[in-house]
């Protein structure tokens, strides 16, 4: 009998261990215990979240693959193409070794998508870091993570077309690195992680196995602490070159009918890929670890089973096609080895050095499902003394933009990514959502990632509604309507009842808004244990939307014309950069009117359809004034003049970031029709000013020092300033 301490070293609880013994009818050996340990880790098993995730709406007419596979898939409606997409976190590895951690995160999500048979066409990334301005470690982590993503994505030849970059010191000790990938697949060529047909060969392809990343999955399910800097065995080194070869070889293989199923060896490597494929198919697998290509000498069965070496795939092929499959992988200089076969009994049999290293029924591996205790808490409401909002918002804006890293040109990140390779990026990073055309098809897809952690911290239910509302409006701004949603749910420890409550509230809000907007959830990822010592990050659900562009696609044009604001003037500063900056608080109470958001979505889509507008841009971080500045920064030589006392005199209105308002650049000849159309739809619109031919930023007669504002805006990347001209 193992001691409690031995069991906990494996990241299992004693009652979990007893359950394993009960199911096996004996003590597991070390290899078996390792397999159970990773498969029952939070990261692989979803044991704390599964019960709640089950409540999300996952079906819809466009859904070809919902949750449960390596990625979800939606139909693009052109009769041939479908889009596979998924998001993943790589938070803890990126803290320990930011460059490799972030790079291998990108590698992992790319594999998830191309195992579905899809060619990856876009990456997006959501980054949450502590402020880099006064903290060297934050600056280092941020810079290295961006470099790692850039290296891996660029080398793979997949454009990184969008994302988000958020700074808040709550992430200093636990930054978030979430990566999203979308890929295109022909509807009749979708692949899945199946291992059916007893006697079919189980094949290992890709890089050799080394001792890297052993126990990565349990590491991801562990909290960070002072010792994390020494957490070395978990570091994996990425090799995008091998992955590129693996991608091309797999796509070549998918042109044939040799493959029954394929899955990448991600978290928990050979263990998770083999057991998951067999479990999905109601079969078993017999493997001989001596046949696994190995990089290091004298690896034990335990190490081979648990290694998380990157750039590897497991596949099941039709018996008799082994040699044909081998030819394809050898053409691409990749390792290929038949390491076992599918068996009819639902059993895992692992051989090593002629002995049975592990053998047990796969049904025993079914992870436990927990209903963790939940402790509700009221909305966190932070009130401010009323006089604190009395200062002149225009003066405050200048101060904020000078000092807040949140209000800097995101190009400091995305210009380090190749966002054009593939020659499909019609709208790249810098817009509300990215748009990719599909060569040979009339369909085009829109992609975006959104999160609002401070809103979720105040009120997780309303917070996630705000996130989804914003995501939907961002899609509308580029003339797209969402087809499916994927999510990356970054939370603290699920063993804290308050975190579990936040989680359940986010799920409740997500369920409600997805039903309301009719958006199916096609997959996602849960990252718990984002704690450092005793404190948790803000609940940070990141939403990825994949949408279909309605009608023809084109780029926005910033030209002299009238600027309208659509949506109610809002005076609520909840979650804003403003409150964070001036009052170090997330803010007060708020709620989201989804009905109003839906009307706004309809209006914006209508404007595109009828050709009323040159451009649309939603109001988000930094408020309306910052959204305007973003426009000016993009249109070198032009300027903006605002004439609207009501909208630009109160701090609340100027800096509110709640979703529900959009800036529209209305064509002169369409103004009258636009206004009457808005009236018909019962949505308030107001002309607030215009784009003008000279480089100024004037608000109600006051000339803001544009040069100075742009200087701060481009502070982190002055060398890019002359290249942002559209």
């Amino acid at each position: 009998m193992r001691t409690c301490q031995e069991v906990e070293l494996m990241n299992l609880k004693m009652d979990e261990y007893n359950e394993i013994v009960r199911r096996l009818g004996r003590e597991p050996n070390d290899v078996e215990l390792g397999v159970f340990s990773v498969m029952w880790s939070e990261h692989c098993s979803y044991k704390s979240s599964k019960a709640l995730l089950k409540t999300l709406p996952v079906t819809g007419p466009a859904v070809l693959q919902g949750p449960g596979e390596n990625a979800g898939i939606v139909d693009l409606g052109d009769g041939q193409n479908a889009l596979a997409f998924k998001i993943e976190s790589h938070n803890h590895p990126s803290y320990v070794e930011p460059y490799q951690g972030a790079a291998t995160g990108v590698g992992g999500i790319l594999r998830d998508v191309f195992t579905m048979g899809a060619r990856p066409v876009a990456i997006l990334d959501s980054l949450h870091f502590g402020s880099p301005d006064h903290n060297q470690k934050n600056a280092y982590l941020f810079e290295r993570v961006v470099a790692g993503i850039s290296w891996y994505g660029n080398c793979m030849g997949v454009p990184t077309v969008g994302g988000e970059t958020k700074f808040d010191d709550i992430y200093s000790r636990n930054p978030l690195v979430n990566a999203f990938t979308a890929g295109l697949v022909k509807k009749d060529r979708i692949r899945r992680g199946l291992a059916s047909g007893a006697g079919n060969p189980v094949i290992y392809v890709g890089s050799k196995t080394g001792r890297d990343g052993i126990h990565g999955a349990t590491f991801a399910s562990d909290r960070l602490d002072e010792n994390s800097d020494n957490d070395r065995p978990a570091v994996q080194v990425g090799d995008p070159f091998s992955e590129k070869l693996l991608l091309e070889a797999c796509l070549e293989l998918f042109e044939t009918d040799y493959v029954i199923g394929i899955q990448d060896m991600g978290a928990a490597g050979l263990t998770s890929s083999s057991t998951e494929m067999a479990s999905r198919s109601g079969t078993g697998i017999r493997m001989n670890l001596d046949l696994v290509p190995q990089r290091e000498e004298n690896m034990s069965a335990y190490e081979i089973m648990l290694s998380e070496s990157q750039e590897r795939m497991l596949l099941v092929a039709r018996k008799g096609t082994e040699d044909a499959v081998r030819v394809i992988f050898e053409k691409w200089d990749l390792n290929f080895a038949v390491i076992g076969e599918v068996i009819a009994d639902e059993e895992l049999i692992v051989m090593h050095h002629g002995q049975v290293a592990a053998r047990f029924p796969l049904t025993a591996l079914e992870p436990p499902v927990y209903q963790r205790p939940v402790t509700p808490r009221p909305a966190r409401i932070f009130s401010l003394p009323p006089e604190s909002l009395k200062s002149d918002p225009l003066v405050q804006f200048s101060e904020m933009i000078a000092l807040s890293p949140c209000l800097r040109y995101a190009g400091q990140v995305f210009h380090k990514y190749d966002f054009q390779v593939g020659t499909d990026t019609v709208i790249g990073p810098g817009a509300d959502a990215a748009v990719l055309r599909i060569k040979g098809s009339s369909s085009a897809v829109a992609l975006n990632l959104e999160s609002q952690a401070r809103l979720c911290y105040i009120n997780p239910f309303e917070g996630i509604r705000a996130v989804i509302a914003e995501a939907v409006i961002n899609q509308a701004c580029v003339n797209a309507y969402p087809l499916g949603l994927t999510n990356c749910l970054n939370f603290g420890s699920p063993e804290k009842p308050e975190v579990m409550w936040e989680f359940s509230e986010v799920i409740r809000g997500m369920r409600e808004s997805c039903l309301f907007f009719d958006i199916p959830v096609t997959g996602g990822n849960v990252s718990f244990y984002n704690d450092f010592g005793d404190s948790s990050i803000h609940p940070t659900p990141v939403i990825g939307l994949a949408g279909l562009v309605q009608g023809s696609i084109r780029q926005a044009e910033i030209v002299p014309a009238s600027i309208f604001l659509a949506g109610e003037l809002c005076e609520n500063l909840a979650g804003s950069v403003y409150l964070r900056h001036f009052h170090q608080t997330p803010g007060g109470d708020f709620s989201i009117d989804l009905e109003a958001v839906k009307r706004l979505q309809a209006l914006v889509l209508d404007c595109h359809k009828n050709g009323f507008i040159h451009a649309a841009h939603d109001i988000s971080d930094g408020g309306i004034i910052y959204s305007l500045l973003e426009w000016i920064a993009l249109c070198n030589g032009l300027g903006i003049e605002i004439n609207d006392q009501q909208a630009f005199s109160s701090t609340g209105v100027v800096f509110s970031e709640l979703p529900g308002r959009v800036l529209l650049l209305v064509k002169n000849e369409a103004t009258a029709r636009f206004i009457s159309s808005a009236k018909d739809q019962g949505l308030p619109v107001r002309r607030i000013g215009s784009i003008v031919k000279n480089p100024v930023f004037k608000i109600n007669g006051i000339d803001l020092d544009l040069e100075n504002l742009l200087g701060h805006y481009f502070k982190a990347s002055p060398e890019l300033r002359c290249f942002t001209v559209k």
Binding site: H415, V421, C722
Partner: protein, 237 residues
């Protein structure tokens, strides 16, 4: 008949499909050529060495690809006057192979950079540039585009009109900050002595459609097309 253009394919290339599409859009008949091939079909009139990360960009960008069998064939093809265009990583492969002088170092900012730049063409009487009008707006996407050559060699190249493109401002004249990588003399692209080999960091194949923001790349492909037509008419080659 559309002229046949071969796009080399190395492990790690990743702009080959973009080049294929770009060539199709501009009147060529493209095909791929695997790096292990050691000969070029006689009907091939143009060789494209595409962008990407051949062999992972390990060691030095382009160094390992330059030792591929296909590069010996390309060298022969170029020696006989065949037209070769190296784009981005392709440019690096050509300098590593010795088909073009100089070397490409890491960008002075130490960043990968992806954005549009403006180019001025220094020599419009070559098969690659005859149809070029004003300044060209074209995207770059590279980490090692910092072209270096010795002062003597540069003088030589200038005398021979071997400078193809220099970075400039939107109006075609030098502007502060317009050089994204710190290259010698703001060089973005160069010819060999005979002007049948061009290497350039910007991506003309990404600039053939208004939908994606620029059609400047068409001017290079149109130049190539007309020079190939002329040489076909003249029965040369």
């Amino acid at each position: 008949m559309k002229p046949r253009a071969a796009i080399l394919l190395f492990p790690g290339s990743n702009c080959e499909r973009d080049a294929f599409y770009g060539l199709e859009q501009t009147g060529f008949d493209p095909c791929f050529l695997w790096h292990k091939e050691s000969r070029l079909d006689p009907e091939i009139r143009l060789v494209i060495v595409p962008g990407g990360f051949s062999f992972g960009d390990y060691l030095r960008c382009g160094s390992i690809a330059s030792h591929s069998p296909v590069m010996s064939a390309v060298r022969k093809f170029a020696d006989n006057g065949g037209l070769v265009l190296g784009i981005c990583n392709g440019f690096q492969i050509l300098t590593e192979s010795g088909l073009l002088p100089g070397a490409l170092l890491i960008n002075r900012t130490l960043n990968f950079r992806c954005h549009d730049v403006f180019l001025r063409c220094d020599n419009t009487s070559t098969p690659f540039t005859s149809a070029i009008g004003g300044p060209l707006k074209m995207p770059i996407a590279h980490y090692e585009g910092n072209y270096q050559v010795s002062g003597e060699e540069l003088a030589d190249m200038e005398r021979n009109s071997q400078i193809a493109f220099r970075y400039c401002g939107p109006d075609g004249v030098y502007a502060e900050g317009c050089n994204p990588n710190g290259s010698t003399a703001d060089i973005a692209g160069i010819f060999n002595k005979q002007k049948n080999v061009l290497g350039m960091m910007p991506h003309p194949e990404r600039a053939v459609e208004n939908l994606l923001g620029s059609t400047a790349g068409r001017e290079i492909f149109a130049s190539l097309l007309s020079s190939l037509e002329q040489s076909a008419a003249g029965g040369m080659n």
